[in-house]
Amino acid sequence: MRADFRRGMKFQRSVGQMLRRELELSEHVRRVLRGMRKPRMDENVGLTHPGNTALTYADQFAVDEATLASGAKVRVETFSNKSRNFKGWSEDDIFKQVQADANEALVKYGGIVQVRRPGHPIFGQDVTVSRVHLVYDSETLTPSLKQELPRALGKKNTKVEIHFHHVPPAP
């Protein structure tokens, strides 16, 4: 159990690093944070939904600073990391789990949210999440599954973008 928890934290750190590296790239070159001109990324951001005081924590939370001025609609994207081990899973179980993860992410990190971290540029404002992302550890997913999973979500018109991240080898 402890090993799983450590694995999850390690994965989350690695995804955070990957996204932070993307911040330095220009919009056209970025692979994940593609919808934002000037993204700002924070980790473990507490969010509430309207009418509910319970907090959910987005693993990573990105806001486009270019939309913060001038009353433009604020653009916000949320990330949930999944370091799940799919080894030995049948294909239908994998597809079903990913769909369930996507549904859960839409509820917890999608729709209208309010950032509850004091000091955050949009603290206390209700904003609509423009895109919800799921990032999976790619280690136990075969190359063909990594191509088929986004398509399976697309067939069902699921509005969650799925990515696969491999924790890069230590130097």
């Binding site: 294909e91 239908d92 549904n103 280690e139 990594k146 191509q147 067939k155 018109n157």
Partner: protein
């Protein structure tokens, strides 16, 4: 190692069958569900729904009643979605979905026939193909179809850019599958006369303006010359802007992926490489086999002549052996018993599984120095124990673990030093595998 027969080479292929409609039958709740179940229950006995897939540990036997009782569980926001496992093709399943939102309605019926070999079963190919065609007709009689296809999943993957997911509905016809369904919009865009005159094994009008085209009688020969020619001819008929020779050459190139080549891996690590090849899947099989056919690990260097092995310098030899066998080796079992169940056998047969797991999970570059310092004794002790109990070796413990050895015949093998090398880089578990050392020791013993 030799030339695998084509059926063995291609055994991990999947038949990917999908049909789409822009009407969502679940808008009509239970009545719509009944219609969908009518269609699913009409298929080949072996493919008929056998179990309802809830969670990994909850897959009750399929029944209409349970399906209706579970309808609310299948719903999430505007979606209705469920997975059904096929009755007698254990890994095959249906993935059914319908939703209606402000963008419109949609329905998809996906059938993944795993393994593809079910379609290839001698004596049953035509019958099984006919069953799939029949499924198209049955659904088409209940719902207007907007598009659909059935074909080798791997062949489709090979045709896809890994960076871009395969579009649900490509803007233009890009390739011909074994089975193709064009909805009225596509048919009108291409020209109905043109579509109906496609050179193909079967062209059939479906209700509501859709058209079904089969390039061949069955899906199984998709990579053959005949089938590629049929696919190319049909495509060029529908897309006169494309050139037959170019299409054919692309298709023939893809067919290479399904043509076996001899597997000639280094015998000491063949078991490890085969696991990796299997994991990478059929679309990469040929590439990987070519790559690994050329690979040889370095000669094992973690040994001394037995005469040069220093005597134990530990205060208590028995305590050292208890530490190695009782504590360190057990740590490897504790660490790996879920990932690599065969480690519980404490047998040489477990070594290639351990090695592949280490290599694939990047053990060679994942760990901090502190974690490595705990893994090395565990790996080394496990390997050492196999040298002792499998080959009649004798421990020679040392304070410095790198110097500790198991003497087998005229050689002193250094399992902890090997474990240190095993964790020193990305491919180190392959280059310095436990398997190779054990096999070398086995050979030397005679």
């Amino acid at each position: 190692m030799s030339l695998p027969p084509p059926d063995k080479w291609n055994e991990s292929d999947i038949l990917d069958f999908e049909l789409f409609s822009s009407i969502n039958p679940f808008d009509r709740g239970h009545e719509g569900l009944n219609e969908v179940l009518d269609v699913l229950e009409s298929v080949d006995e072996e493919l008929r729904p056998g179990r309802i897939s809830f969670e990994r540990d909850r897959k009750p036997k399929y029944s209409r009643q349970l399906m209706h009782e579970s309808l609310s569980e299948f719903q999430f926001m505007e979606n209705t979605s469920f997975f059904l496992k096929c009755a007698r093709v254990p890994e095959a399943y249906f993935d059914i979905h319908g939703s209606t939102d402000d963008e419109g309605s949609r329905f998809s019926l996906t059938l993944r026939i795993i393994p593809f070999a079910w379609c290839r079963e001698p004596g049953k190919q035509e019958e099984r193909a006919a069953g799939l065609v029949s499924l198209v007709r049955t659904l088409a009689s209940r719902l207007p179809l907007s598009h659909g296809s059935a074909h080798s999943g791997t062949d489709q993957l090979l045709d896809t850019d890994p960076e871009q997911p395969r579009p649900i509905l490509p803007p233009q016809v890009e390739r011909m599958h074994w089975l193709n369904v064009y909805g009225p919009q596509r048919v009108e865009a291409l020209g109905r006369e043109r579509v109906l005159s496609t050179p193909a094994f079967l062209v059939e009008e479906l209700p509501h303006g859709a058209v079904l085209i089969l390039t061949r009688p069955t899906p199984v020969d998709f990579a053959s010359e005949q089938a590629r020619l049929a696919q190319a001819r049909a495509l060029v008929h529908l897309r006169p802007d494309l050139k037959l020779e170019d299409i054919l050459s692309t298709l023939h190139r893809r067919s290479l992926a399904f043509t076996p080549i001899p597997i000639q891996f280094d015998p000491d690590v063949a078991d490890i490489l085969l696991q990796e090849v299997d994991f990478q899947g059929l679309s990469l099989r040929r590439q990987r086999v070519e790559q690994y056919n050329a690979y040889h690990p370095p000669t094992v260097s973690e040994w001394l002549p037995a005469a040069h092995q220093p005597w134990p310098d530990v205060p208590d030899v028995q305590a050292a052996l208890d530490l190695y066998e009782g504590t360190y080796a057990e740590q490897l079992l504790a660490l790996l018993h879920t990932e690599v169940p065969s480690v519980m056998d404490r047998s040489p047969e477990s070594l290639p599984h351990i090695d592949w797991n280490s290599w694939h999970m990047s053990w060679g570059c994942q760990f901090t120095p502190e974690q490595r310092s705990r893994l090395i004794p565990a790996l080394g002790a496990y390997l050492g124990m196999l040298l002792v109990y499998g080959l009649g070796g004798k421990w020679m413990p040392r304070r410095n673990l790198d110097e500790a050895a198991v003497v087998v015949g005229d050689r002193a093998w250094l399992p902890f030093l090997r474990a240190r090398h095993y964790l020193q880089g990305r491919d180190a578990p392959l280059d310095y595998s436990l398997t190779q050392l054990f096999r070398e020791a086995q050979r030397r013993r005679g």
